[in-house]
Amino acid sequence: MSTEEQSLITTEVQTENTTRADRPDETVLEARSLDVYYGQDQALTDVSIEIPEHKVTAMIGPSGCGKSTFLRSINRMNDQIDACRVDGELSFHGKNVYDEDVDPVALRRKIGQVFQKPNPFPKSIYENVAYGLRVQGTVDDVDLDDAVEQALRGAALWDEVEGKLDSSGLDLSGGQQQRLCIARAIATDPEVILMDEPTSALDPVAASKIEDLIDELVEEYTVVIVTHNMQQAARISDRTAVFLTGGELVEFDDTASIFEDPADDRVEDYITGKFG
């Protein structure tokens, strides 16, 4: 391969990245003075953040600083936890999702989630992807086979499972299972996809497939991803939010600024591995 070809590819990637970064920010999710408690313990303290549309926003921070808690408060999965209480405001397109008239079920149909541990249902691959469409009652409006295929293609899994849609989702490898979960999440066409350490249970090859996938997904969706892997955050995200112990959002900025020139000393220490 000539050096010319190589440099061409690099520029191409760069152009793509610049266009994404150059897009004007449309805030899709906004937290204002968000406090979350588990019983007496405060897991998030006065978090305010604006998450832009069609970008990848990464959340990093030491274990127990409330990243998962923040993610769960976006799609109100915290409702499932009895002891959990939320104060403050979290709006989706300007509407506070904690308002009385918001139905969490409807909200979750707009905001999908992918979990740390791949959790396919003990059903066929096909039924896993179709599940969301079935519970959302939209099966009649779409061609189910077609929707399943589109979702699997979107999750870069179609080629690997094309001939065996009827076999159990549990028979796939961990990386394939995670992509199946992504397919399941995008099948219902949400606006936002929340990912909580989606690659931490995967080997590097499977992880990099998911990273590539996120890069494509962001063309159509807004992605919020929690990760413990700094390189991953640096590679795939446009914005990075750094939480520190105590559930504080310490810094939120362009990923490049966070990693090259953080404003807060504690963030610099965390990123360079001095504590965390």
Partner: protein, 333 residues
């Protein structure tokens, strides 16, 4: 090469005297436990043998053991009469040896009870596992366990004193104009159904609670309602445990004796009238065993033929359960 073991300095994994003693204890414990297991198996085999041995004399006039010693075989009751006759009265002056009426009684009670216990038990299990708050569950579960621990004779009196006169009889009279006696098929179905609800609900609930929360969260995150999660995720994922609870409840209903005798009576007949008195296989066995019939007579030996049939019925339920368990293993990991 030295044979003196103490000379070698091993890395601390050589067995010394204490370990040897432990091994000897281990062996003794193992023999004791094995002995207990053998007793269980032998008891089962002995029961099975006694049933077959005596049932043989009902059909062939001599026990298997007697036949081996050279007793002559003489057909007393033919299999055709036993399995297809519709009159059951072995102790009557003109005896009838058709077992169908009491098999009907048992099956009718079992099916009717299943219609009560399966829907209510499953719904209770779903409620406890998916809907109820912790505080409600902590009160309801022990209550169900108390219900499961009540002696069946108490349920029988509950049927005589309450279900039949207060619920079933008025329905029979006002809706159908039937003047009912003290016993009825319907009240037998109801009381056995109620008795077996705790069995269905508590075993099903255990199976449902064992479904990992990961699966529930995955579904909730897709915008599933509680009902969707219960019926499309939790129930299918726990189906083998749930089904096992159904089989147990059905086996229990087949073998149920006291409550059903007190509720449904002792009148062997095949009838479509739920307000009629019927007789189950177990009720017949109670009647025979405590009656005045002389040991060794044909009518006495009929007890064992019915017992053997009952045994085969519950055994096939167990086999069905095993097959189903193998077929529908809990798939989640």
């Amino acid at each position: 090469m030295s044979t003196d073991v103490t000379d070698r300095s091993g890395p601390g994994i050589r067995g010394d005297g204490a370990v040897g003693a432990d091994n000897a204890t281990d062996r003794r414990v193992r023999r004791l436990l094995f002995g207990c297991a053998v007793i269980t198996v032998l008891t089962t085999l002995a029961i099975f043998f006694v049933l077959i041995d005596n049932a043989a004399s009902y059909f062939f006039g001599a026990k298997l053991t007697e036949m081996l010693l050279g007793a002559s075989v003489e057909r007393t009751v033919t299999f055709t009469e036993f399995f297809s006759g519709t009159r059951w009265a072995p102790d009557h002056a003109t005896p009838g040896h058709g077992v169908l009426p009491i098999v009907f009684g048992t099956l009718a009670i079992t099916v009717g009870a299943a219609f009560v216990s399966i829907p209510i038990g499953t719904a209770t299990a779903i409620y406890l596992s998916e809907y109820s708050s912790k505080s409600v569950r902590s009160k309801l579960k022990p209550t169900l366990e108390i219900l499961a621990g009540i002696p069946t004779i108490v349920y029988g009196y509950f049927a005589i004193a309450f279900i039949n006169p207060v619920i079933v009889a008025p329905i029979a009279e006002t809706l159908f104009g039937i003047n009912m006696g003290r016993y009825s098929l319907l009240s037998g179905m109801l009381v056995v159904g109620i008795m077996t609800i705790p069995m269905v609900s508590s075993i099903s609930e255990d199976a449902m609670s064992a479904v990992p929360d990961d699966l529930r969260n995955g579904a909730y995150a897709l915008g599933a309602t509680k009902f969707d999660v219960s019926t499309r995720i939790v129930l299918p994922a726990s189906i083998s445990g749930v089904f096992a609870s159904y089989i147990l409840a059905v086996s229990r209903a087949i073998g149920e004796t006291m409550a059903v005798t007190l509720a449904a009576g002792m009148q062997p007949q095949i009838t479509a009238n739920p307000f009629a008195e019927i007789m189950t296989m177990t009720a017949y066995m109670v009647k025979m065993a405590r009656g005045t019939t002389a040991v060794g007579t044909v009518e006495y030996q009929s007890l064992f033929a019915v017992g053997l049939l009952l045994f085969v019925m519950t055994l096939s339920m167990n086999l069905l359960n095993d097959w189903f368990k193998r077929r529908f293993q809990e798939e989640y990991r």
